[in-house]
């Protein structure tokens, strides 16, 4: 199987979807001639022409509304926002129109919104955010956060197949840093099914996106201290694989949740609330959350480093839990 970067997996996956199904088209700022700010759509304009690879004006509302409308007419838009931060500009279109349409009118809205997200490269408060948690509170939307090249491609295919609005958060800091085996043929990965990044017995660590690697680093450290950590990569937050988490907690009795987004009312809260409600008897320790502090994400490397959870933060939380 060929090795690909996370970025290449998305790019190739997208091209494959477009070749396979002519209803699939791409819409976004600078996605054509430029190939997208991160070069995910490079070559698509040449292959599919200007009406399947549409350079939009700087108009997030028009992009999301345009995707919604064309999806209602049976197309399969894969829209790109240049940075996931800018999804705030189209918040209303998403939560008001796209999310509620099927419930109210019974009409599917099969659209995918690609959202390059996450920090780690001094992008500052407006180019580094992880806005996925906010959307888990909006019934009608699906939320996808792949961590590996393999998942990135498979989840993209599932997103294109899905008859609902899917927010596909691709982590910018994984784009070129992470490589993995990616099949050439098309495959899908079901939504709501977690991946066990690492099996373990003592502590369950639930996370997603780039934090999977931070978790792995910490778990490796703890291994040498004879603490066995099970890492669950959720892959999708809406739906999320509650069963996998409950199953793991039944085994480990301890739960640590880790995310890059800010702490208060982040999706980690929902996981903790759900687990304490359904697995109270199994828990042997407080559920811990490691997340960004409740501040905007800062620009300077020193501050950003203090902001984004690091391996050491996770390792020390794991140690505390192990000792509990």
């Amino acid at each position: 199987m060929p090795e690909k970067t996370y970025l290449q997996a998305i790019s190739d996956g997208l091209r494959q979807e477009m070749r396979r199904d002519e209803r699939v088209f791409v819409l976004g700022e600078d996605v054509g001639v430029y190939g997208g700010a991160f070069k995910v759509t490079v070559g698509l304009l040449e292959e599919f022409g200007p009406w399947r690879v549409i350079d939009a004006p700087l108009s997030e509302i028009a992009i999301v509304g345009g995707a919604t409308g064309s999806a209602l007419m049976g197309l399969r838009p894969v829209a790109e926002l240049q940075f996931s931060d800018f999804v705030s500009c189209a918040w209303d279109q998403l939560v008001t129109v796209a999310a509620k349409q099927h419930f109210r009118a019974g009409t599917p809205v099969p659209m995918v919104l690609r959202l390059p997200s996450g920090g780690g490269f001094s992008g500052g408060p407006f180019h580094s955010q992880s806005p996925e948690s906010a959307f888990t509170h909006v019934p009608g939307l699906k939320v996808v956060c792949p961590a590996t090249p393999h998942d990135a491609k498979g989840l993209l295919a599932t997103a294109v197949d899905d008859p609902n609005p899917v927010l596909y958060f691709e982590h910018k800091h994984l784009y070129r840093r992470i490589k993995g085996e990616v099949p050439d043929e098309r495959y899908t990965i079901p939504f709501g099914k977690a991946r066990i990044e690492r099996a373990g017995d003592d502590i369950t660590l639930v996370t997603w996106g780039a934090m999977v690697y931070t978790a792995a680093g910490a778990a490796a450290e703890l291994q040498s201290e004879d603490v066995s950590v099970e890492i669950i990569d959720l892959r999708t937050l809406q739906p999320w694989d509650k069963e996998a988490v409950l199953e793991s907690v039944a085994k480990t009795s301890k739960l640590l949740i880790l995310h890059e987004d800010t702490r208060t009312s982040g999706f980690g809260a929902e996981i903790a609330a759900q687990v304490v409600e359904e697995a109270f008897e199994q828990l042997d320790a407080p559920i811990r959350r490691i997340a960004a502090p409740d501040t905007p994400i800062p620009f300077s490397p020193q501050l950003e480093n203090a902001y984004i959870p690091q391996v050491e933060d996770v390792a020390s939380a794991l140690r505390e839990l192990a000792a509990y």
């Binding site: 108009s59 028009a62 345009g66 209602l72 007419m73 419930f103």
Partner: protein, 348 residues
């Protein structure tokens, strides 16, 4: 730069043939206006009887804008009508009893009690259900047009919005994108001179909203929104232009909102004289006169039609009232659409 222009009043001068409408078509439009107003009048009574929950809005005075534009559309064209445009649903063929059931939050309303008012649409008729947030349907309407353009279909999207809603960013992004891509969409501005209590001079500072078309590189036109033939003729021209690849047009239909914003509002802020003046231009009365003068519709013929509509609506109301309330046990269903078929090659 495109310049907005007023169309001449057609009702007084026009020959029927000029419009490409036959007598049956014209009488059909009259009937659709009657049905529209009739449904809203019944709705108003049902509301006062406590049979319609929530609030209640009507489009009284806007029947020509709604029916006139909808009559100029082809069945394959799509649209996003708003809260004053119930006539669009009627013209496109939604059965009146289902609209009354919708008002009452019953299972047979297109929104099955999940949403109220005219927040409804049947996708079979290529209509998309409006949301309250104004004018959030404009970018969506542009998206419909985008789909037609991508597939090279000769179909047009028609997008209604109000004078108040014109101030929101959605209107701008939608029209700009449509203009840049010359998409097959017609923007119909229902300018009824009020946005709730807010008059035009507090909403916008240009003379006509149609002037704004120039900012987006297409034509704008101002039309008397109480004159259904003028509306029809401008809408037809704009729709066919879009269908031929000529890009968008903004058609501003000027009317006056003849009732309060909703039932609870007595519109104390609208000058009495303004209402009186516009009452004289009632679109239904105007068209009735035109029909009798230009296609020799006799009093008997028109009265019979009016009686038929009344009977239809009485029947519709009965049927609507017997529609069941939605089943609360189904509330949590349908938030998401189900994938059409099991996913192939699923690999976990």
């Amino acid at each position: 730069m495109a310049i907005a222009r007023d169309t001449e009043s057609l009702s007084s001068s026009l020959d029927a043939e000029q419009l490409g409408l036959d007598r049956a078509g014209l009488l059909g439009m009259y009937r659709d206006m009657l049905v529209t107003r009739g449904i809203e009048e019944r709705g108003h009574i049902l509301y006062k009887q406590g049979k319609i929950p929530g609030s209640f809005y009507t489009g009284r005075g806007n029947e020509a804008g709604a029916v006139g534009v909808a009559s100029a559309m082809q069945p394959e064209d799509a649209g996003t009508p708003l809260h004053r445009d119930m006539g669009v649903h009627v013209t496109r063929g939604v059965e009146p009893w289902r609209i009354l059931a919708q008002y009452m939050g019953r299972e047979d309303g297109p929104a099955r009690g999940r949403d109220g008012n005219v927040h409804m649409a049947l996708i079979e008729q290529n209509l998309v259900a409006m949301v309250s947030h104004l004018p959030a349907m404009m970018p969506v309407a542009v998206g419909l047009a985008l789909a037609f353009r991508i597939r090279n279909e000769r179909r047009v999207s028609v997008c209604w919005y109000g004078d108040g809603a014109a101030a929101r960013g959605d209107a701008h992004e939608a029209m700009n994108f449509a203009g840049v891509r010359r998409l097959p969409v017609v923007f119909v501005c229902d300018n009824n001179q009020y946005a709730y209590s807010t008059p035009p001079q507090l909403e916008y500072a240009c003379a006509n909203l149609a002037d704004r078309a120039a900012a987006y590189g297409f034509d704008g036109v101002v039309v008397d929104g109480t004159d259904i033939l003028a509306v029809y003729s401008e809408a037809k021209r704009a729709i066919e232009k879009a269908r031929q690849g000529g890009g968008p047009t903004l058609v501003e239909c000027v009317t006056l909102r003849m009732e309060g914003h909703a039932v609870h509002d007595n519109a104390f802020y609208v000058p009495r004289e303004l209402l009186d003046e516009w009452a004289k231009r009632d679109p239904i009365a105007r068209f009735r006169l035109w029909l009798s003068e230009h296609v020799q519709a006799s009093e008997a013929e028109l009265s019979e039609l009016e009686e038929q509509v009344k009977a239809l609506l009485a029947e519709a109301q009965k049927r609507a009232e017997s529609s069941p309330a939605p089943d609360p046990s189904e509330l949590e269903q349908g938030v998401y659409a189900e994938p059409e078929q099991p996913q192939e090659n699923a690999d976990a």
